[in-house]
């Protein structure tokens, strides 16, 4: 007999987790759209966010929540300044621009992971929080940790703000125009440097913020990035590269898959299932299961 209560609880937990994954996936997909480079460092922004949360929280009275705006702004700045380097590598008269871009972000990821490992050691850290303790009780189903509920709410909120910017402002229009066609956007008088940097900064900030929440729910350690790089790849591969609405679906699928596999099978096989799925989906339908992804990464 399937325990309906447990099943419901697992599904809701998965949906709550999906909220934060969506915000990672949307930023990642956008970074791909404007820079046309798959960012291998995506998981490292998550890791840095979680780490920043763990390190800075004590100075804010051991309250991880207060760190969040600071982390967003700091990583917006970091992303803003890193973007010109990636743009430089992928444009101009360089050979194999896409591959060089991939290798560059790959080097960035190793650099970040190695630096954190060397400076802070391989141990797990916690992001403390007194505000987000306890649980929210839904009568008849169960109790859900406040952290997860708030995480999902913030994920949805961040996504809404981001989508509003993207679809209702001039800056958002410029970013969408660049994603559509970089050369034409430049001919229309759009400052590519500025808007690409804004988009990449927003992506880095959002991803690091998601990292703080992931640090609040789980733990922070220097090696955690790889898993979230895999998650981000999983989401965009499932959705189709550069197709934003698809990411919302695949982020939720990812959250559900993770919590269902962990509860009903084993936590050990989650990553295997995920990687195998990415591989198979790429082979069967490189433009995503929704079939709407771009094909210009070749």
């Amino acid at each position: 007999m399937v325990d309906v209560g447990l099943l419901l609880q697992t599904v809701i937990n998965g949906l709550l987790l999906g909220g934060i994954y969506v915000s990672i996936g949307v930023g990642f997909s956008l970074a791909f759209g404007v820079l046309e480079v798959i960012d291998f460092a995506v998981g490292e922004y998550v890791m840095l966010g979680a780490f920043a949360g763990a390190l800075l929280a004590p100075t804010f009275g051991s309250e991880g929540v207060f760190v969040i705006p600071l982390v967003f702004l700091a990583f917006f700045g970091v992303g803003f300044l890193i973007q010109p380097f990636i743009h430089h590598v992928t444009s101009g008269d360089r050979p194999m621009p896409v591959l060089m871009g991939l290798v560059f972000t790959f080097g960035l990821a190793i650099f970040v992971r190695g630096s954190v490992l060397t400076l802070f050691g391989p141990n797990n850290r916690n992001v403390p929080s007194d505000l987000l303790v306890g649980g929210v009780t839904i009568p008849g189903i169960g109790i859900f940790p406040t952290v997860r509920v708030v995480t999902a709410a913030v994920g949805v909120f961040a996504l809404a703000v981001f989508m509003y910017y993207l679809y209702n402002t001039r800056g958002g229009m410029a970013i969408r125009a660049i994603a559509e066609d970089r050369t034409n956007a430049r001919l229309m008088g759009i400052n590519i440097n500025r808007y690409q940097s804004i988009a990449y900064g927003a992506y880095a900030g959002m991803t690091a913020t998601a990292g703080v929440f992931i640090g609040l729910i789980f733990t922070a350690n220097p090696g955690m990035g790889l898993q979230y790089t895999a998650f981000a790849f999983f989401m965009v591969v499932l959705a189709g590269l550069g197709y934003l609405p698809g990411v919302i679906v695949s982020g939720v699928v990812l959250g559900l898959a993770q919590s269902l596999t962990a509860v009903y099978w084993s936590g050990e096989v989650v990553l295997f299932v995920l990687f195998a799925l990415i591989y198979v989906v790429l082979l069967v339908s490189p433009s995503g299961i929704l079939g709407k992804g771009g094909e210009h990464a070749s």
């Binding site: 480079v37 798959i38 010109p84 380097f85 743009h87 430089h88 590598v89 101009g92 008269d93 360089r94 050979p95 194999m96 896409v98 591959l99 060089m100 991939l102 290798v103 560059f104 790959f106 080097g107 960035l108 990821a109 190793i110 650099f111 970040v112 992971r113 190695g114 630096s115 490992l117 060397t118 400052n191 440097n193 500025r194 940097s197 790889l226 895999a230 790849f233 591969v237 590269l241 050990e268 096989v269 990553l271 295997f272 990687f275 195998a276 990415i278 591989y279 790429l282 082979l283 490189p286 990464a297 070749s298």
Partner: protein, 351 residues
Amino acid sequence: MSTDEESGGHGTYLDRVRGLSEPPLWVVGLILVALVLLPIWLGPFWTRIALGALMWIGLAQSWNMIGGYAGYLDFGHGAYFGVGALVTGIGMNTLGYPFLGGFALAGVVGAVLAYVIAVPTLRLRGAYFAIATWAFAEATKQLALVLDITGGTFGMSLPTGEGTIGLPIPGGPSETFFYYAMLVLAVGTVTLAYVLFERREFGYRVKALRDNQDAAEALGIDTTRVKRQVYVLSCVIAALFGSVHAFFITFIHPTDVLAAIVTDQMVIMALLGGLGTITGPILGGIAVFLLQRLSSLFLGQTTFYLPLIGGIIMLVVLFAPSGIVGILRGETTSTDVRTNLRELADRFQFR
């Protein structure tokens, strides 16, 4: 690039970085003789370092075949190294083979696996290929961690003190024994790469495929076939190195032999030395391996070389995309770096 005038402005950039002008045969002979005599002068410690360098030169060269010559960025190449190591362990432990049996088995399993993976995966290009191979390698690692036959999370010990072909080696396998094993494999790999890619028509087909796949197809080159041949060849070499490595260190664990860093190092060595050249992976292999060993030896920091390597990759991609070979051949000069810096500064104009 300011070297366009010198090269006539024709051909792709990678054609210009094909290799250092070939050293005369007597120099190559001298180096080989020195390599053969090396263990006599070096103690076991430095022999160990040298054999490690030889292994990485061979691995970097094997990655260079698919990544540098064919232009397919394989981020899962380390999987074959790990599979070779694990298959050798399984052959010796579970099947009771002598080492040479395990070695042959590693080659065969590597080839079959590479072919099976090649058929669907090589249809993907660019970033899609990179992600797919990376996902394949990580899935392989996760699978090895949950299977029983690979030792799972406990790892696996290989029988020690046994002979290679069932006959005992005098004094047992030693540093010197493995040094010569790696020397034979590494020299074999480099020679094979030189003959195939620089001396045979095959090499021209592969480079045509890298520079423009559609044009190569139009010229009547069966690109699918060529891609598969290069991929399987390079993967088998990685598996063979994994096999010898396993027999050498005698204890293998999936998180070590299938670690992402194995692939990372191959990519970095080939890139730092010069992609699509014979000498590049040799120079890059030595440089990165020594950097890693010496930094852990003298700084006592085992992880410090990671940010170092990451930083080097970024700098190489930014300022010297043709690697050490490019610098030696004068393709990356201080003028190029200055031009690059100026162009980079332009990207910071946000107004």
